[in-house]
């Protein structure tokens, strides 16, 4: 089972790399170099804040866009191109292994991508701040939270990919990411409602993935430490949410006729 999972995951990673997904790094590198040179001109006080905000937001958005655009095709593209016939038809591969392998492969791609971006980001921070301090450890936490975002959005894109077309899947995935970014506000609105509406709104607010809790960019940009409790809670939340979404993906895919 492990052998099959790693084979599928590695093939997914290899496909993404050979399809030149990592070329986005060139764009990221250009952006980060240009911004670090530019912020140096503005002010000694805020150049670091601007660079951290810009760099981490770029790492987050680049990965989210890749996760959605590859994630929505993970299953549907295989059905459309009929490549999964040769995997599922005559190989002892269970459908859940296929889904999980594809998921792990894309997460691996995104992680490698994020690590390479992080190297450039830290180099830029060092250039602007003339070195790294102990407080910069919170930047690592922010990047870890971005990786958790990737995991969550990959699982959601994969879920949509099991039953919908790529266009609708991308709309759903972007929409849910946008809504999830305002999850805290949604919960606030729900508290203001009354009666049955309140219950329904609260349910809906807790159902959408809470991307807001994973965004600590402005906090770390202002040198505010991230509480260890939040790291633990976010990790557990993403693990549970991802497991639920993957289970739903497998449930749908297991019942699907591959015509």
């Amino acid at each position: 089972m492990i052998g099959r999972l790693t084979a599928i995951a590695y093939n997914t990673y290899r496909e993404a790399v050979r399809d030149r997904v990592l070329y986005n790094l060139i764009l990221f590198a250009t952006l980060i170099v240009a911004s670090s040179l530019l912020v140096g001109q503005i002010s000694l006080e805020i150049n670091r804040i601007v660079l951290i905000n810009l760099g981490l937001t770029a790492i987050s958005l680049f990965g989210i866009v890749i996760a959605i655009f590859i994630g929505i095709g993970l299953v549907s593209k295989e059905i459309e191109k009929r490549t999964l016939y040769t995997v599922l038809a005559a190989r002892p591969v269970r459908r859940w292994e296929f889904i999980t392998g594809k998921f792990l492969g894309l997460v691996m791609t995104l992680t490698v991508n994020a690590l390479l971006m992080s190297v450039g980001f830290f180099a830029a921070v060092m250039y602007v701040s003339h070195g790294l301090g102990r407080g910069d450890l919170s930047l690592v936490t922010a990047i870890y939270f971005i990786l958790l975002e990737y995991v969550l959005i990959t699982a959601l894109a994969l879920l949509f990919s099991t039953f919908s077309t790529p266009i609708f899947s991308s709309i759903f995935a972007f929409a849910i990411f946008a809504v999830g970014t305002f999850a805290e506000d949604l919960r606030g609105f729900a508290q203001m409602a009354t009666g049955a509406t309140r219950w329904m709104m609260t349910g809906a607010a807790y159902l959408v993935p809470n991307f807001a809790a994973l965004n600590v960019i402005s906090q770390v940009a202002h040198n505010t430490a991230v509480e260890p409790k939040l790291i633990l809670l976010n990790t557990l939340y993403v693990m549970a949410y991802t497991a639920a979404v993957l289970t739903a993906s497998v449930w749908i895919f297991e019942r699907r006729n591959l015509k």
Binding site: M1, G3, R4, A7, I8, N11, R14, E15, R18, D19, K81, R82, T83, Y85, T86, V87, L88, A89, A90, R91, P92, V93, R94, E254, R255, N257, L258, K259
Partner: protein, 353 residues
């Protein structure tokens, strides 16, 4: 889904074939997982009333039968052809057997195991129609990936991959990305991936389609070669001459329904029965025409084509008219004749199966 990894495959009970089969299975120790030992007596594929309906229409309220209840048996060591026009249900049958689509009714067993037994797939090779592969890979990488998924031991993998590539004549192109390949080359890679793990049963969907005459000949030879090695081969095709050349038995499907099944020679006998009679003496023409013969005279030599049933009466008529009999030759029917006789008057099904 039955979890049976790490165990020898156990034939399910309840089938009328079980008494025969149980003797031929070997229950192997756990360190040698899921091994099957087949014998000559065992059916490689056993289909009992397998059927598939699809919901169509905007609201999914219409039911279309892609495959009507099908009962069929393919013996081990056979080359079995599944014939039919486009939309006949050939691909649906293969997809049902391979678990890509789920049956609406009926049962089937492959190598004595139920369809939901995932471990039996170690012993199956499949070539889809117009195969597409991960075109970012080279044939060597692709076959290695498939061999890995099929559970081929890492020590054996490289050798098996190279052997499979050599068998389809692709050794020199092993390191070229598949996106640069022609359709014929992809078909060869398709066959290589179907045999890379040395399966006992090969399911080939239109293996000769899209190939030039030389390619078709090579695939036919390979099918025969694999069969001589003891592999069972089940393939679908609408190219009747291919089926006639390589198949021991064929099944004819149309509109999702089995129209006939049997040894090729037996089936042809059903639609044959015509004889060509050649004689000298034009005087006998009216008498033979009266028996239904289609006569064509060239000078004094007459050729008459008539039903075998009328042969005795025709010979008597020739004697009566003092004609000189030159030859009586049975007319050999082709699978095309059989095909047209069975389904020629029916329009093909609209279901894309």
């Amino acid at each position: 889904m039955r979890e049976s990894e790490g165990h020898a495959i156990v034939p399910s009970v309840g089938s009328r074939f079980d008494n025969v089969r149980k003797d031929h299975f070997s229950y192997l120790p756990r360190h040698k997982p899921s091994a099957i030992i087949l014998t000559k007596q065992m059916a490689a594929i056993e289909i009992q009333g397998l059927e598939k309906s699809y919901r169509t229409g905007f609201f999914g309220n219409k039911l279309k039968q892609g495959l009507k209840p099908l009962t069929l048996s393919v013996e081990e060591g056979e080359v079995f052809g599944c014939l039919g026009p486009n939309g006949a249900g050939k691909t649906t049958t293969l997809k049902l057997l391979l678990g890509l689509v789920f049956p609406s009714g009926g049962t089937a067993k492959i190598l004595g195991c139920d369809l939901d037994n995932i471990n039996v797939k170690r012993y199956i090779g499949f070539l889809p129609e117009q195969p597409y592969f991960y075109d970012h890979l080279t044939p060597l990488e692709l076959l290695d990936y498939y061999a890995r998924l099929s559970g081929v031991d890492s020590r054996e993998r490289k050798r098996k991959v190279n052997t499979a590539l050599a068998r389809v004549g692709m050794t020199d192109s092993g390191k070229t990305q598949l996106r640069k390949f022609s359709k014929g080359m992809l078909q060869r890679v398709g066959i290589a991936q179907a045999i890379v793990h040395d399966p006992k049963l090969l399911l080939l969907d239109e293996p000769m389609s899209g190939l030039d005459p030389i390619g078709r000949r090579e695939v036919r030879d390979l099918v025969q070669e694999l069969n001589e090695e003891g592999k069972t081969i089940f393939f679908s095709t609408h190219i009747l001459s291919d089926a006639e050349t390589v198949c021991d038995r064929v099944a004819v499907l149309n509109k999702g329904e089995l129209k006939g099944v049997g040894v090729v020679a037996d089936l042809l006998r059903e639609v044959s029965g015509d004889v060509e009679v050649v004689w000298r003496g034009a005087r006998a023409i009216p008498a033979l025409s009266a028996l239904g013969a289609r006569c064509h005279a060239t000078g004094d030599v007459v050729r008459g084509l008539l039903s075998e049933r009328s042969l005795e009466a025709a010979l008597a008529a020739l004697r009566q008219n003092q004609a000189h009999l030159t030859s009586v030759t049975p007319v050999r029917a082709t699978l095309e004749d059989y095909f047209l006789a069975r389904i020629g008057d029916e329009k093909p099904n609209e279901v894309n199966a």
